[in-house]
């Protein structure tokens, strides 16, 4: 019983750390551009497909494939920002929201046209032996996922807190106009944020596809929405909040799948979102915002 719960907790940690990686993208973009990038979930899908194209179809070495995938997603993220979001920076939020939904829909349907709706099986590129500690069995993918996500998060925290670019990002998210007056190139900083967020989404996509091993044009939609829930749970705009929210959400999902009902797990995740928004809209670690006229 106890080992069963522990195993579920580890599963939750694995899914949750993937959610956390995706949620970081949402939260960074929200912090800096004050918009929710609906297309973020579909960048995971693009990542999964480009990994399939480079490794599965072209037969490149996995490391090169992974690097190309991250590059493709980063460039895609920056392009989306330049083409669709940048002209709307002063537009009402509803317009930006509809554009973002349109973008997400565009990516899904492009993938549908190119790769068709039939699921493509794609074996995991991660080959790592499973480890058992006493009665608990931890799969290789879980170990790799946990290592990769921890390294990415530590690197990101370091980058945001210590480097000059990271400081510029924090400055822009604090006050865009003041940052501009201090000589920060706001446009470039926003592009960098999109690039990093999309790069993290690419890593999440690679880990995700290694776990589920099936490619679908809509594969990014659900993890994308769940990661958004995670970002809100942790407090949107807060980077440690996204990590915490992702892991909590992953554990909630894995426990409710194991002990309540598989079908209702998604409904429970959405229930968490509704409760958080109603009780504490600023999330666990978010800053409270007072609304000004």
């Amino acid at each position: 019983m106890l080992s069963g719960i522990l195993e579920q907790l580890i599963n939750g940690l694995r899914t949750g750390s993937i959610y956390a990686l995706i949620a970081l993208g949402y939260t960074m973009v929200y912090g800096i551009a004050k918009m929710i990038n609906f297309a973020h979930g579909d960048i995971i899908m693009v990542g999964a497909y480009s990994l399939y194209v480079t490794i599965g179809m072209m037969g490149l070495h996995p490391v090169i494939g992974i690097l190309i995938t991250i590059a493709v997603c980063s460039i895609l993220g920056v392009t989306i920002e330049k083409v669709a979001y940048k002209p709307l920076r002063k537009a009402p939020p509803l317009s930006v929201l509809i554009t973002a939904i349109g973008m997400s829909y565009l990516l899904q349907n492009l993938a549908l046209l190119i790769f068709k709706a039939t699921p493509i099986p794609f074996g995991s590129i991660i080959r790592f032996p499973a480890v058992s500690i006493g009665p608990i069995n931890i799969s290789g993918i879980t170990i790799v996922t946990l290592i990769v996500t921890t390294v990415s998060m530590v690197a990101l925290t370091f980058f945001i807190n210590k480097t000059k670019t990271g400081r510029a990002m924090r400055a822009v998210s604090e006050d865009k106009d003041a940052a501009e007056l201090m000589g920060i190139n706001v446009n470039r900083t926003i592009s960098q944020t999109f690039a990093i967020g999309s790069g993290l989404a690419a890593i999440a996509g690679i880990l995700f596809i290694s776990q589920y091993e099936t490619l679908l044009p809509t594969l990014g939609a659900l993890p994308g929405i769940k990661a958004f829930v995670a970002a809100v749970l942790g407090g949107i705009g807060s980077i440690p909040g996204a990590m915490l929210g992702g892991i909590i959400l992953g554990i909630i999902e894995s426990l409710s799948k194991a002990y309540i009902s598989t079908q209702l797990a998604d409904a429970i995740v959405f229930g968490v979102l509704v409760i958080v928004l109603l009780v504490k809209p600023s999330g666990l670690l978010g800053k409270k915002k007072t609304e000004k006229v």
């Binding site: 509803l94 930006v96 509809i98 554009t99 349109g102 829909y105 998604d266 959405f270 509704v274």
Partner: protein, 322 residues
Amino acid sequence: MGNKKKLIINGAIAAVVYAVVMILINQGLLSRQMMSIIIPICVYTMLAVSLCLVVGFLGELSLGHAGFMSVGAYTGALFMIRTQEVLPSIVSLIGGLLVGGCSAAVMGVIIGVPVLRLKGDYLAIVTLGFGEIIKSVINSMSVTGGAKGLSKIPLLTTHRSFTAVFILVLIVIIVVANLVNSRHGRAVQAVRDNYIAAQAVGIPVSRFKTMAFVVAAFLAGMAGVVYAGNIGILKPVQFDYNMSIEILVMVVLGGMGNIRGAIIAAVILTALPEVLRGTSDYRMLLYAIVLIAMMLFNNSGIKQRIMEKRNVNKADKAKKEA
């Protein structure tokens, strides 16, 4: 233009449309395929007009409109199946419409009261979540037939009963148009334009938001019943995210907050894929591009210049008349 003149023009347009469609149906001038899209056009018109109330006039994005439609479609269809042998068909249809509309409205209250405290992005994503939850609940219930679907629904709203459906469409349009121009409608638009100011002048913001949301849900539920009575079989997968997006595209293309635009967009977007067969692969892609392009155009310098020119022209005209 005076109100009376407007009313006469709109009434005349409605009468002409009705007469033309009736002649086309009765003279057998339409192919089977064209015949089969008459009712879907009516259904989508109702859906687009009702969503226009939420997106255009309330200024909130609801991505769960297909969910309300499915609730109405299923309850209305169940009512019509149960009563088809007991009641005359017209009574059964009206009962089905009311039952479907009311159950969708109840769902609108259940979802709206908590959700409408939120704004913008949050509201959009929560309505999306609720739409998916409704779908999965319908999928797991036995009375709805689950994933296999609900079949043998009496076909009460095919093109043979176009008159009834057309009247219903008119009722929906009139309800929404009157609501928008009423005191309540102005309150709703005030909430959209500046909710803090609206609150400050004493408008109960959440009550009006809920009202608009529930009315839209009711109308979507009725549209769902018409949909059910036209195709005779319902499956949960028909009411997915894509359908909500499709309705949203109609509202956006029609110019958000423009009822006439929403109607025209609904007619064109429903008829076009049937007329241009073979483009169905690109339809969804086109929708996505339409959404993005419309938003970029709406907020671009080009539109501003056109609007300025129009205003200048109008001012010139007014000066000449004076």
